[in-house]
């Protein structure tokens, strides 16, 4: 019974972490039809910002929830102004340019922080469930993922900004017709996306050993999750994260972690073959 509880927690955690690592990419892709392949490096930078802030004496939660997203968001803004904005509408070119950026940031981080693994310890201690010890931080991540999804929903559904953003998603000219500069909407979107990537990196930092190449481990998963989710931002994110998190954890427990990863990938291939437009391309159409 305790084991079942532990497995459920691990499963929820797997889903939540997929939501976290994919959210930034999903926003940028959903709104701007841009695949940001430097997404993983944005997460990596979020991690480094957190660690640096904590060593400089900041409270760990402030560092994770405020400093890291803001700093990474600003970096994203610079990237958008310098590189991305020249490439709107050129999907493949943006992928290549952001790929280049990802290499650039890896190199930069290596020069600044060196390649030695760094990290901070988890701010929440573990606790006991029957005969098991569970990582308390898992609950924090699950909570953050739920809050994040709720917030995204509220912003998109309830605010003027969300309305404009949804309009821009449907028809890029829509916003312009309403008198908003699409350029500024894209800037804002890219800032938000980058900030979310930074947040995800920051929150996962205490769980992993951080190196400049850490981002590579996330980008493939995030990319797959977002594409498999399909056109609906929030529903798609939840559906594909739920599906992949569930499948990979089942195989991880039943067989081995490798099989968990492979199962996730195989599921992605099968899913895309059956639903080439992603889950929400077929089901839950028109949802957010």
């Amino acid at each position: 019974m305790d084991l079942v509880f532990v497995i459920i927690v691990e499963m929820l955690y797997a889903v939540a972490s997929l939501v976290l690592i994919s959210a930034g990419l999903a926003i940028v892709f959903g709104m701007m039809k841009i695949i940001n392949l430097a997404h993983g490096e944005f997460m990596m930078m979020g991690g480094y910002v957190t660690i640096t802030a904590v060593t400089l004496g900041a409270n760990v939660f402030v560092a994770m929830l405020i400093i890291a997203p803001v700093v990474v968001g600003l970096i994203g803004l610079v990237v958008e102004r310098l590189v991305i904005r020249h490439l709107y509408g050129r999907l493949v070119d943006t992928m290549l340019a952001t790929w280049g950026l990802s290499l650039f940031f890896i190199g930069l981080a290596t020069m600044i922080f060196g390649n030695t693994t760094t990290g901070i310890s988890t701010p929440i201690s573990g606790f006991t469930v029957g005969n098991y010890q569970v990582n308390g931080y898992n609950f924090f991540i699950i909570l953050i993922a739920i809050v994040l999804l709720g917030l995204m929903y509220a912003v998109l559904k309830g605010t003027r900004l969300g309305l404009i953003a949804r309009g821009a998603m449907q028809l890029p000219d829509m916003a312009a017709a309403l008198g908003y500069s699409p350029e500024r909407i894209y800037m804002a979107t890219f800032f938000c996306g980058s900030a979310l990537s930074g947040l995800a990196g920051a929150i996962l930092a205490p769980l992993v050993g951080l190196v400049p190449t850490s981002g590579g481990a996330y980008i493939a998963k995030a990319f797959i999750t977002v594409i498999a989710g399909g056109p609906s931002l929030i529903t798609g994110l939840m559906a594909s994260s739920g599906l992949f998190g569930f499948i990979s954890q089942i195989f991880t427990f039943a067989v081995s972690p490798v099989m968990g990863e492979v199962a996730l990938l195989v599921a992605a291939v099968v899913l895309l073959r059956l639903l080439p437009q992603g889950v929400t391309g077929k089901f839950f159409r028109g949802r957010l």
Binding site: I106, F223, L272
Partner: protein
């Protein structure tokens, strides 16, 4: 077609012969050999991406598959001839299956990218986790992360003890690349090649003409994989070890960068891009002031921003502006650069 055999083939052979003669005086043949192999690998993606419009994020999968196929077969067979053939055929067959799955499923651009990327990841993860003694094919241990060393390297067919290595191996690879280049040139001149370009330009139109687009893309994809597999087999012979890194995303990324930098839609561009960047990496390894990853990243970003068509087309248009027929400048100056007449008869 006539001018192809009468002019282009002899001209290509002469230029290639000159290069094969001159290059070893400047760069060691061992390094040159791997540059040629990378050139062939870049060429394979240049063919399917530049002429077929198929952006494959997993060309490294076919490269690695070719290398592993060679290594495993060579350990089991002990003579290099059949393994070399298998290194071409296995990736081609794999690509045909994968391609059929994707193209008959009408997957395009990003979705195609995801699937090829994911398949590469699966192969990488699988091969990396085969360190245990239970992963054996015939006499060959897969070896996991450490790869497979110590297999039979290239020998004169039927004589397993007469190795082809060192300088002769360089000439072997050079001639092979030349042959592949000519075959692909011929393919692009043929109806198949032109229809492939048509598919790149407008898939729907070509289907509306009654061509089987899915089948044609699958075949082209398989041809690209066969060339990548050949490069993989050659690489295995060169390095005398194969490791899962051959399948890595980093490797795939490099191939794409080679094509972008060299120039898509040209035949020579990806070869030049591959050899040039690989040599640059080799030179950079001899210094340690600037981080090499950082530099590669900057190069890619700058190319996408300022030279999205790549080096070879840029140089060609510069050449045309400087030495071309001035009278036609207004019309031709802004024209898309053509692939050395590849799309003409």
């Amino acid at each position: 077609m006539a001018s192809f055999w009468a002019k282009e083939v002899p001209a290509t052979i002469i230029v290639a012969a000159l290069l094969i003669w001159i290059m070893p005086m400047m760069i060691g043949t061992y390094t040159l050999t791997v540059l040629l192999i990378y050139g062939m690998l870049g060429f394979s993606l240049g063919l399917i991406w530049g002429f077929g419009g198929i952006l494959c994020f997993g060309q490294a999968a076919f490269f690695g598959l070719g290398a592993y196929t060679y290594a495993i077969a060579a350990i089991n067979i002990g003579d290099s001839t059949i393994p070399m053939l298998l290194a071409v055929l296995v990736p081609a067959a794999f690509a045909a299956l994968l391609g059929a799955m994707m193209f008959y499923g009408r997957l395009t651009d990003v979705y195609l990218g995801v699937i090829t990327l994911v398949v590469t990841l699966i192969l990488f993860k699988f091969i990396s986790s085969t360190a245990g003694p239970e992963y054996v094919i015939g006499k060959a241990r897969l070896g996991g992360f450490n790869g497979i060393p110590g297999f039979q390297t290239l020998n004169v067919p039927g004589r397993p003890n007469d190795y082809i290595y060192g300088d002769p191996y360089f000439y072997f690879c050079a001639v092979l690349l030349l042959i592949v280049y000519l075959l692909v040139s011929w393919l692009l001149k043929s109806s198949f090649g032109r229809v492939a370009v048509g598919i790149r330009e407008n898939e729907v139109r070509v289907a509306l003409m009654g061509y089987d687009v899915s089948a044609r893309k699958t075949v082209l994809f398989a041809i690209g994989a066969a060339i990548a597999g050949l490069a993989g087999g050659l690489f295995a012979n060169w390095g005398e070890i194969v490791t899962p890194n051959l399948f890595s995303l980093g490797q795939s990324a490099e191939i794409i960068i080679w094509c972008i930098v060299g120039g898509l839609g040209t035949r020579i561009g990806p070869i030049v891009g591959a050899a040039g960047l690989a040599y640059l990496k080799f030179l950079l390894g001899q210094q340690s002031m600037i981080d090499n990853t950082l530099l590669t990243g900057i190069i890619l970003v700058l190319f996408v921003l300022f030279l999205p068509k790549g080096l070879v087309p840029a140089i060609a248009s510069l050449w045309r502006i400087s030495f071309g027929q001035r009278r036609q400048l207004p019309r031709h100056g802004a024209r898309r650069i053509r692939s050395g007449g590849a799309r003409h008869g």
